[in-house]
Each structure stands twice: as structure tokens, then as C-alpha cells.
Amino acid sequence: MSLILDEEQQLLQTSARGFFSARAPISQLRALRDENVTDCFDRATWSQMVELGWAGIPWPERFGGLAFGFKGLGVITEQSGRCLTASPLISSIWLCGAAILLAGSETQKLHYLPSIANGRHLLAMAFEERLRHAPGEIDLLARRTSHGFVLSGGKRFVLDGISADTIIVAARICNSACDTGGISLFLVPRDTPGVTAVSTRILDSRNVASIDFIDVQVPDSALLGAVGQGPELLDAALDIARIGLAAEMLGSAQECFERTVQHLKDRRQFGVALGSFQSLKHRAAQMFCQLELSRSVVLEALTALDEDRGRPEIAKLASLAKARLGATFHRVTREAVQMHGGIAMTDEFDIGLFIKRAAVADQTFGDVDYHVRRYAELEGY
């Protein structure tokens, strides 16, 4: 498959671009923030996206999807990034949907995927327990009982955790004598007794939750994948979500860059356009180059998902994309503030929303350092 969009994908791109700029422009994010909406995203917009079929694009038709590939979903996600649209695309579709698609039983797939695609369900993934991304460090315990498991422990930084009705929880299975059982994933309804979520609106005006699990009883059927399959499953699902997030970051960075270039053309200082100053030109040109590299790694990673190239290759491409976009988005937003000058420091101007999103997106699913290190490890050095 190729690194460019085919006609169908281009059409999808155009329609997504139109949709987000009309229905979910940056002013929507601002309004959600200022009105203190708990979900931190707009349910009506999400319903429209669901109606357009965007919540199940890559999945097979028998699970309610459109079988249009991850590249299709990536195209939409990138456009949502342009408008900084907050939606459950990353949490519910890219991450949880992927986990169920990868490891769900036929029953689970038939139960969850269509109802995610048609908007009945929203899922969130609870796996972070440390100060920063560390999917390998899971302390939350799942004690075996005669007819299931009892979960105890806490999770943090659960994206859209307050809005989801079902949480996928990564837990360490502990048999009779608290040995080190395998880490496994569980599907837990949010309203299960003992589950308490505290939501915080963070820097980028999105919601993350800290969720406590106090003696939460779940049946055997709550297991997603086999016992002990958690680490590899989590890793694989996260890689898909990392690629999706990278696509979103690409859209945001591209938009922020284009606004900055436009400002360089429009704004006059010292009697000339700001963009005629060579030092700014060079920095703009460097950003352009970084964005081109970014676009290539995102497209390649999406293509690899659709071609199902297998674990080591997809993992490398996910780290390549996430690291590259983390660095590019960081650079573009910092330069955008500096080049816009004082106006970019004011809350009423949009550039500040991009720099905030860049900081959060970088830390989500592993920052630049994390993925550069991971790439080196995957390459075996």
C-alpha cells in the first residue's frame, strides 16, 4: 500500500475537514471549557460522528464497522486534530476498540464493537499507575475467587474515564498465595460497586480520571484475552492508539504551523512583513521540513496497521511516529507562540490551546524520550 491517500480517502479527508470546522471548531473546545462541561467533549458532535460511521471505520462490517481501514480512521483523526476537537476517538475507538478487536472473544466482539460503533457504549482504558507512562508497571491486584476476580487498587490518567460506561482495567492476577500471576485485562462496567472515578479537567481542557477499585467483583467472563496476556495485548493496543494519537497531533501541528505562516505574511513590523525576516524564515522552513517527515511516518504507520505487518514492525513504527510527532508538535507550538508574540500569550487567542494540547499529547502513551528509547530497544541496541 502506498504513502499517499487514494481517492476515497481524499474524499473522506475533505468531508472530515468540513465537518470539524463547521461542527467542532476550536471555539467549541473553548465553550466546553468555559461552561465546565463534565465530559469535556460535546455529546451531540460525537453522535454526529457516530452517525457518519466514524466510530467503527476500521472494523469488519460484521462488527458494525465500515472496513475502511486505519488509514481512514487516521484521516478523520488528523482532521479532528486541526480543530483540537475533543472526542472519545482516541480513548474509545483507537485504544479500547483496538484491544477488543485484538483479543476479544467472539461474544465480546459482538457485544462491544457494534455498540461502540453505534454510539451506545463509550469505553476507557485504565492502566497508568505511575507518574508517567509506564504500561509495564501494574500493581492493581486481581484476586481469584471461586467465580471470578476481585480487583483492588488505583489507576490514574484514564482518558475520558468519567465519560465511559465500561473500563478496561489492567490488573495483576494473584492466586491463593499472592504469587506473581500474569497481568491481564478486564472489562469492568463503570457502575460496578466499588468503582469510584474522580475526574480532573487538565491543561488541554480534556478530562482524565483517577479511578479507585475497592474490592470490585467481576466474573470470569470479564477477562479480555487470556490470563497473563495483558502486557503484550496492552502493548499492541497502545501501539494502535499511539499511531492514532500521532495522526491527531499531525493535524494539530499542521494547523498551528499554517496559522503561524499566515501570521508571518500578515503581520507587519518595522515596515515590512514579519515573514521577510530571514531568521524567522529559516525557522519556518525547518518546521516545514519536520512536518513533512512527520506526515510520512504517520502515513507509514497507518499503512502498516492496514497491512497487518506484525508486532515488531508496527511497534517500531508506532514509536517512530509518536516520538517524531511529540518533537514536532512541541517545536511548532513553541515557535508559534514566539513568532506570534504577545498576542499568543492571551487566553482569547487560540495558539495557547495548541501549546497546552502539545504538552498533554506528548505525555500521553509515552513521551519523546520514552519512544526513542523504545525504538532503540526494539532495534536491539
Binding site: 474522580v198 531568521s279 500569550m345 487566553d347 501549546i355
Partner: protein, 417 residues
């Protein structure tokens, strides 16, 4: 609220210049007795004026210092200073720092416009304004930036039309620090609309309580801010309140900006402070922070990449402080009492470093650095995150980094314009 005070030189400040070491020990003794314990290591600084309520302990400390001329230690005694030379002033500062004493008085009056009036004000202006600054009676703000001017200060459009003995001022300013709390503004205005851009500008000393002045706060990406917009509608300013020559305000302003840059990049200046600065106050240093967050099970402090980044920032911090000291010594030797082009270097380096420091700061805090509000974050964490955003302004305000680099290249290196 502080009351009007008259300047009565105390015995101590009237004594003849002491040797460096004598001076140091006398300062040390005096501070030990007079600096309130509760203020040490984190007191709020007083900015003068009467529009903000101030902790009585802070005023007590202010009064004690004022009695020795130490609110403006290098100013002549006639204007409320102590007449200290650079070396003695440095010793005073070092001794204050060593016990964590806050500056008794800070703000644009003491750091920027005071020195400028001292340099180019008329005798009347000096007598009228300087003692009031030293006594903490007048808080000052700066009226330079305008919404459509940006880095190109000279593109300003606020006008001052002569009408008898008064100027009539119309227009607006932005990025004014605590305009709403200030008593006076030094304000760049256009006094000749027909002259080429940099000509026809003048500096007015303008009372913020005059009729026709209003202010509006600016909300920043980091939240509420110290800045406001100021609007002037037919504001009358006496012609005697013109600082420097009429229509040659550009030169005056450049000099004022040098004072500003110089003050900003020093500890105590807005840019030298805040979380993560190496300079005390309530800020934790990067290495303190790293130890705090590295103690968690993820062992972040053992992360060699982060450690290297922290060390790089702290090493540059130290190099910069040494360079400041070297510049002070060179100035003291050359007898050139006032900073000039080199301030561009300090402005550039210190603001870029603060920006880098705050990026590292945020990185160390991980998810805890991404909060906006709520109980999941400590007040320190929330403050640090917002300060990280706020710090983006430092490389823009007061002459952006690009302007500073231009100045260094043109005026210090002599590269062709």
C-alpha cells in the same frame, strides 16, 4: 498601608564609607536584628503605592530598610538612597540573599524609571519623583507596548497634543504590569504625527489617577495575570512631566529599556524568579524537584537523560550568574556606572534559560505537571504548570529574543545592518 515618611538619615547611613569587610559584617549584624524571621526565605515583595493591601510585617521590613536608605541603596542620599557603590551594593545584596531576606522594595519605579530619572530627569523631576519612589509612595508602571506595535515599539500611535501648558493624551497601551495598582506610568506618546516613525516620540510621566484613564485586566494562557490594557481619553498631562527632550523620546526609551532588561535578568527581576530559578525564593530548583519526583517507584531521578538535562540547565545558570558578576566588576572598574548593550545578552540568555528550565520542570513532573485545577494536584504543581506557560512570555516581553540578538549582532559585533 504605609504612611508618608520623611527622610531622616540615620546614623548608620551617614557614616563614612566602610571597607568591604567591615561593611559586610555590619550589614550582617543589622539584618540579623531587623529582618523579620517570618519573611526570610519567602516573603512577599513590596512594590510601593497604596492601592494594594500589604502585610504589616512587610511594611515593617520596608521601613527598617528605608531608614538606612536601602530601599534604593545606590541612589544618592538626597533622594532617599544610601549612596552605595556597586561593590557595597553587591555585598548588601549577598547578605540579604544569604538569609533569604526579600527585597524591601521592587517594581518599575526602583528598577527602571527611577534610574532613568536619575540619569536624565530635570532637577524638579528628581525631587518630585525619586524620594516618593524611595519612600514607597508611588508605584510605577510602563506604557510602551501598543496592540498594533509589538516588537516594533516605534510604530506606536498613542498621541499627545500640546494644549497650552498641558498635553492631551489619547490612545491605548497594553501589557502594562499592574496598571490598576499603579500611581504613575512612564508612557511613550507620539508628539509629532508628521515626523518619521522614530522621531516625534516623547516620554510622559503620567498620573494613573488622572481623569480619562481606565484599565482592563488581560487573561493569559496561564490564567489571570498582572497585565492590563490601559485606555486614555483626553487625559491631561502637564508639559513639565515630559522626561527627556520632546520628540526625542525614542532615545530616552532605549535607555529605559536597557535599565529594564538589566533588571529583568537579575534575581528579583520578574524573570529571575519563579519556580525553578536557582535563586531561592519559594522556587524549588530542578534538582530538588527531580529528587522529589524521582523518589517514586519509577526511579525517574535515575533517568540519565533527565539528569543530564537538569545538570545542563543548572550549569548554564551558574555560568550566567558568574557572567553577571564579571560584568559588574568590569563596570565597576571602568567607572561606567550604567549597563548598556550587554544587557541584551543577559536578557536573551536569562529568558531563554528560564524557558528551558521550565520545560525541564514540566517534564520532570510527568502527569502531575499536566493539571489545571483540582485536588489531584498540589498547589505547587498547579503553580509550576501555570508558571511554565507564563514563562513563554519572557522571551517575548521587554524586547523579544530576536530583537536582543539583532542588538548584539549590530551593536556589539558590529555586523552591518
Amino acid at each position: 498601608m504605609n504612611e508618608a515618611k520623611e527622610f531622616v538619615p540615620s546614623e548608620a547611613s551617614a557614616e563614612s564609607p566602610a571597607s568591604a569587610e567591615e561593611f559586610r559584617s555590619s550589614v550582617r549584624r543589622w539584618l540579623e536584628e531587623n529582618c523579620p524571621q517570618a519573611l526570610r526565605g519567602g516573603g512577599v515583595m513590596y512594590h510601593g503605592g497604596r492601592k494594594e493591601s500589604v502585610d504589616p510585617l512587610v511594611l515593617q521590613w520596608f521601613d527598617a530598610c528605608y531608614s538606612r536608605g536601602w530601599t534604593v541603596p545606590t541612589w544618592p542620599r538626597a533622594y532617599g538612597g544610601a549612596g552605595l557603590d556597586a561593590e557595597h551594593a553587591r555585598i548588601l545584596r549577598e547578605e540579604m540573599d544569604s538569609i533569604g531576606a526579600p527585597l524591601p522594595l521592587n517594581g518599575q519605579g526602583v528598577t527602571v524609571i527611577g534610574p532613568a530619572i536619575l540619569e536624565i530627569g530635570t532637577p524638579e523631576q528628581k525631587l518630585r519623583h525619586l524620594p516618593r519612589i524611595a519612600r514607597g509612595e508611588a508605584r510605577w508602571c510602563q506604557g510602551f507596548s501598543e496592540p498594533n506595535a509589538g516588537s516594533d515599539l516605534a510604530a506606536l500611535t498613542t498621541s499627545a497634543r500640546l494644549d497650552g501648558d498641558d498635553y492631551i493624551v489619547n490612545g491605548s497601551k497594553t501589557w502594562t504590569t499592574h496598571g490598576e495598582l499603579s500611581d504613575w506610568m512612564f508612557c511613550l506618546v507620539r508628539t509629532d504625527a508628521t515626523a518619521p516613525k522614530r522621531n516625534g516620540i516623547s516620554v510622559l510621566l503620567l498620573s494613573m489617577d488622572a481623569a480619562g484613564v481606565s484599565t482592563k485586566p488581560i487573561v493569559l494562557i496561564s490564567g489571570r495575570s498582572v497585565f492590563c490594557e490601559c485606555f486614555f481619553t483626553d487625559v491631561r498631562v502637564a508639559a513639565a512631566d515630559l522626561l527627556g527632550r520632546r520628540n526625542e523620546g525614542w532615545t530616552t526609551a532605549r535607555r529605559i529599556l536597557e535599565h529594564e532588561r538589566s533588571s529583568e535578568s537579575r534575581p528579583g527581576g520578574i524573570i529571575g524568579s519563579g519556580p525553578g530559578s536557582g535563586s531561592g525564593g519559594d522556587g524549588r530548583t530542578l534538582s530538588m524537584l527531580a529528587r522529589e519526583y524521582g523518589a517514586g517507584p519509577d526511579g525517574r531521578m535515575r533517568d540519565p537523560l533527565v539528569r543530564q538535562r537538569i545538570a545542563e540547565v543548572e550549569m548554564e545558570q551558574r555560568a550566567l550568574a558568574l557572567t553577571q558578576r564579571r560584568a559588574d566588576e568590569e563596570r565597576a572598574r571602568s567607572g561606567k556606572g550604567v549597563p548598556s548593550e550587554e544587557t541584551s545578552m543577559f536578557k536573551y540568555l536569562s529568558t531563554e534559560l528560564t524557558s528551558r528550565r521550565m520545560e525541564t520542570y514540566l517534564n520532570i513532573m510527568g502527569f502531575q505537571g499536566l493539571g489545571w485545577e483540582g485536588d489531584s494536584y498540589t498547589p505547587q504543581e498547579l503553580q509550576a504548570t501555570r508558571y511554565w506557560l507564563y514563562s513563554k512570555a519572557f522571551t517575548i516581553a521587554g524586547g523579544c529574543s530576536e530583537v536582543q540578538l539583532d542588538i548584539i549582532a549590530n551593536r556589539i559585533l558590529g555586523l552591518p545592518k
